[in-house]
Amino acid sequence: DQQVKQNSPSLSVQEGRISILNCDYTNSMFDYFLWYKKYPAEGPTFLISISSIKDKNEDGRFTVFLNKSAKHLSLHIVPSQPGDSAVYFCAASELSQGGSEKLVFGKGMKLTVNP
């Protein structure tokens, strides 16, 4: 059973507009969430994270929102740039109760930003 779900496989937006990438999770014990970005022929790279004690974390053009009651998080990219075109993975872990050894990843979403 998939614990982290990215239900939309792809998203296409115009340069300068907002990109919203969504992620849902089923395990209520998850308390730390991350987004990774992956370009073709490269490994995933860390983008931004959020702890469950927060509902928002911002880093430049990237903001992650967490809605614990809905078990939903989203990544907002404003404004979107062509260089943001990549596959984005949502990931989660359980840091409480002694910590988690590994991340659980979603299947990824391909974002295309058109010039």
Binding site: Y32, G43, F46, F89, L95, G99, E101, F105, K107, G108
Partner: protein, 112 residues
């Protein structure tokens, strides 16, 4: 150079052959991981290691063997390669697993 490196970057092998993918990290991270990336499946964990000489199965371990005699190395061996193991393989390391990883650049393996 500091970081995490995977070798080879590309590999073509025949069905039934044994092949080993290498992963080396210079940070002395405790945790190391092997993932495979396939269309429609995202990143799936094959094996991971919490420290030298400690390994554990992930989601898709069948057909793979790992070892970790040294903290910095975590090789992945396909004992008898099958076409279903054609994939892109990523190694990752982490100081504290659940806080996030650093990934290598990947090995694209084709089994013919």
């Amino acid at each position: 150079d500091a970081g995490i490196t995977q070798s080879p970057r590309y590999k073509i092998t025949e069905t039934g052959r044994q092949v080993t993918l290498m992963c080396h990290q210079t940070w002395s991270h405790s945790y190391m991981f092997w993932y495979r990336q396939d269309l429609g499946h995202g990143l799936r964990l094959i094996y991971y290691s919490a420290a030298a000489d400690i390994t554990d199965k992930g989601e898709v371990p069948d057909g793979y063997v790992v070892s970790r005699s040294k903290t910095e190395n975590f090789p992945l061996t396909l004992e008898s390669a099958t076409r279903s193991q054609t994939s892109v393989y990523f190694c990752a390391s982490s100081l504290r697993g659940g806080y996030g990883y650093t990934f290598g650049s990947g090995t694209r393996l084709t089994v013919v």
